[in-house]
């Protein structure tokens, strides 16, 4: 299981679309090209420099196109090249980046374009996520109906006060004001407004939920040689992992799933991280409902069990705190489902490249990108740094 001999992987290009509830100005092809072209421009690369294309998105039903890589091959310059399409539920954007990174790490290809997208306005994702399947636990109305009991279980388990979720929602939406690509720009957001918004799935209020967005995110990944030729700084992959566990089984900890903590432990081991709270400078984690910030802080080892909410409450996770979480505004401000995971990975890369603009975390040298999906059962993460891995 030695990792010696792997080619170091560098992120040299990042691009994303302007995200909105409905991008009626572009087709599916237009949407993905907007992100891909920005990533290529950032990398100083052209279509001819790309050896393979790896795309990801959540269910095909969301746009009504089965195996959309077939139709998108032309738009993404993949004709005559290998093209892969990953689908691992909500974690897919992260998984897609990892599959692309492995092509470089294994030296199968030198430079790979990876892209994830969702055009949610083509359908109704909430009902698309409400599975009317016999012999299965219903997801009720949308993902919120599934996750609300887990949030309540977290509150009971830890004694967290009611307002923590609102603190997260308010923080992430304020961060989004510094991110020109973000879907939601709520200039007048206040804690009180979040706390008085309608209750959707008790204890989750409307303002504590992610929007439905149209959007795409793309990255150019390359090897050591490619990084040397790139015009800008690179983010280097120091660790990456995926972990999965079944949807439902006796003894599952839905609040802090083992697949999540195992995945983080694997990434930290690869990257030589022993104290994530001190050694990681910025975190982009998948928080579709506000309470998932304190829950994942514990699951990922940034806080002791039961203490995640205290970290959030202390302001440590704010943009000017000592462990900024979702400086981009996160999933709570932008949620093209299939792309949401890749946005986390890409924003982590932007931080260590010093390219995050107004939401840049000062002196960020190590950042974690995190995504999850399904019934809190699929996890993908990577850790990127501003220097190549040792060796």
């Amino acid at each position: 299981m030695s990792s010696t001999g792997k080619e170091p992987v560098a992120v040299v290009g990042v691009g994303q679309t302007r995200h909105a509830a409905a991008r009626r100005d572009v087709s599916l092809a237009g949407l993905v090209r907007e992100a891909a072209l920005r990533a290529l421009e950032d990398a100083g690369a052209d279509w001819a420099d790309i050896d393979a294309v790896v795309i990801g998105k959540a269910p095909d039903f969301f746009e009504g196109v089965m195996r959309p890589e077939l139709y998108l091959a032309d738009a993404l310059g993949a004709v005559g090249k290998p093209m892969l399409r990953v689908h691992t539920a909500g974690s897919v954007g992260g998984s897609t980046a990892l599959v692309a990174a492995n092509l470089v790490a294994a030296r199968v290809h030198r430079t790979v374009l990876t892209l994830a997208f969702e055009k949610q306005s083509e359908s109704n994702a909430m009902w698309g996520l409400s599975l009317p399947v016999p012999f299965q636990q219903p997801l009720l109305a949308g993902a919120g109906g599934f996750f609300a009991p887990h949030v309540r279980a977290y509150m009971r388990r830890t004694g967290a006060p009611d307002h923590i979720g609102a603190v997260v929602a308010c923080k992430d939406r304020r961060n989004a004001l510094k991110n020109p690509y973000a879907h939601l720009h709520e200039e007048d957001i206040t804690l009180e407004k979040v706390r008085s918004s309608p209750m959707l799935w008790d204890p989750i209020r409307y303002a504590e939920t992610c929007p439905s967005s149209d959007g795409a995110c793309a990255m150019v990944l390359t090897d050591r040689t490619g990084a040397g030729r790139a015009p800008g700084p690179a983010a280097w992959v120091h660790g990456g992992a995926m972990r999965s566990e079944p949807t439902l089984f006796a003894g599952k900890d839905a609040v802090s799933p083992r697949a999540g903590s195992d995945c983080a432990a694997d990434v930290y081991r690869q990257a030589g991280i022993t104290d994530p709270r001190r050694e990681i400078d910025a975190v982009e984690m998948y928080v579709p409902f506000s309470w998932y910030e304190p829950m994942w802080l514990e699951n990922l080892g940034f806080a002791e069990p039961g203490e995640g909410w205290r970290l959030t409450e202390s302001g440590a996770t704010a943009l000017d705190g000592d462990l900024p979480v979702n400086p981009s505004g996160g999933v709570l401000s932008t949620n093209p489902i299939g792309a949401s995971g890749m946005l986390r990975f890409a924003e982590a890369a932007l931080q260590v490249r010093g390219r995050a603009g107004e939401h840049q975390v000062k002196d960020a040298r190590t950042a974690l990108g995190h995504a999850y999906g399904g019934g809190s059962q699929f996890f993908s993460m990577w850790l990127v740094g501003d220097r190549p891995p040792a060796g």
Binding site: F61, V65, R67, L70, A73, R85, V86, S244
Partner: protein, 390 residues
């Protein structure tokens, strides 16, 4: 940055070798009524794990391929994970593609050195809907899908192009159908296992001119699983690993208007990258081609430059059993299985995706060097392989 490796696949990952060490497939049937996807998968996953003595905890990686559009619901692969028994949690991924591409992802994972073994599985339960209608949703959503050309109409266009170009005739296509289904007599898992002679087939009416019923694959429910292993681990897990000497895949343009439907340049390029045409390499004794429609076999034979020395689709191919999303993985499994059983020394496997053979994957699998050392009679093996298919 554009200079890809001279041999994109075979040269990858330094010297790490990866092999198929076990393959299993379900009985392929028109309707697996009463079975969920997980229930369809469980026996084949069990079979490859039992055969290799592996369990979930020892697997380095798990990867699967399937389509929500067959299941008729989003995230359909999540429940299939139950067939694996993913506890403690597993390192796992999924492609919304044929399982052949799941195998490709797993192969890359093993090449990185991050894992030594991988379980790959896929399934297709097409009986839940009207498959030819469902497949119209794979087409360009703005210009093609609104016309609802079903998969039979799409294949008809390609067949017509091939006939008009004088590359094949209806007699040869009927021969492909008859040979494939008669070969499946030796494959107890196949769905269609015999055929009337070509002359009789040609007496049938057209279903959608120029296609007759025999030119079409059956609609199939089925599943398959493969275990991959690297280097010495592969040698520990089975007596005759089927080494993947090279594997590559290429996609073409989507619109039929910009393609030559009588040719498959993506298959040829993938084969070249996979080392099929390497100088000095012997012709494969076996080819498992993913050609759901008879005319596609003609195109693929030409693209892969297969001659008389190569037995094509001894399993019966997709014309004998076509579980969509698994049929490509099964081609790799069938080719590898012949190496595992000692009846093939060098085999080529092919998988396809999309309309008009848009996306193609080629893998070259070989027996250990030892099997071709002086003194062993490879010719006899090849002869036996040919015999099997008759």
């Amino acid at each position: 940055m554009s200079d890809d490796r001279p041999n994109g696949a075979a040269g990858a990952g330094g010297s790490r070798e990866v092999a198929v060490v076990a393959f299993a497939q379900s009985d392929h049937v028109r309707r697996a009524d009463g079975l969920s996807e997980a229930e369809m998968l469980l026996p084949v996953v069990r079979e490859v794990l039992d055969r290799t003595g592996l369990d979930t905890e020892r697997l380095g990686f798990v990867c699967s391929g399937s389509s929500d559009y067959l299941a008729g619901r989003p995230f359909s692969f999540t429940m299939a994970l139950d067939a694996v028994g993913a506890w403690p949690p597993v390192s796992e991924s999924h492609v919304e593609m044929d399982g052949a591409w799941a195998l490709y992802e797993a192969w890359v994972k093993l090449l990185t050195g991050e894992a030594d073994t991988a379980l790959v599985y896929s399934w297709g339960k097409s009986s839940g809907g009207d498959l030819p209608e469902v497949l119209t949703r794979t087409l360009d959503p703005y210009y093609l899908a609104p016309l609802w050309p079903d998969s039979v109409a799409v294949a008809g266009l390609q067949t017509r192009a091939l006939l008009d170009a004088g590359i094949t005739d209806e007699r040869e296509l009927a021969g492909v159908a008859a040979r494939s289904r008669n070969a499946a007599a030796a494959n107890p898992r196949a769905q269609l296992r015999s055929s009337p002679p070509p002359e009789e087939l040609l007496a049938d009416d057209y279903l959608a001119e120029p296609l007759r019923r025999h030119d079409l694959p059956p609609v199939t429910d089925g599943a398959a699983a493969v275990v991959l292993a690297a280097g010495d681990t592969a040698r520990e897990l089975c007596a005759r690993p089927a080494w993947i000497r090279g594997m590559d895949h290429r996609i073409e343009a989507h619109s039929p208007g910009v393609r030559d439907l009588t040719d498959s340049p993506s298959t040829r390029l993938a084969a070249e990258r996979a080392g099929l045409f390497d100088e000095g390499a012997p012709a494969p004794d076996t080819a498992e081609l993913h050609a759901p429609f008879t005319a596609q076999e003609v195109i693929l034979r030409r693209a892969l430059r297969l001659g008389e020395d190569t037995v094509v689709n001894p399993s019966g191919g997709a014309l004998a059993a076509n579980p969509v999303m698994a049929a490509g993985l099964i081609r790799i499994g069938e080719a590898a299985d012949r190496v595992l059983r000692g009846t093939s020394r060098r085999a080529v496997a092919h998988a396809t995706s999309g309309p008009w053979l848009q996306h193609n994957l080629v893998a070259v699998v070989e027996a250990d060097e030892a099997a071709s050392a002086p003194g062993t009679d490879g010719g006899a093996d090849a002869a036996q392989a040919r015999e099997e298919s008759r």
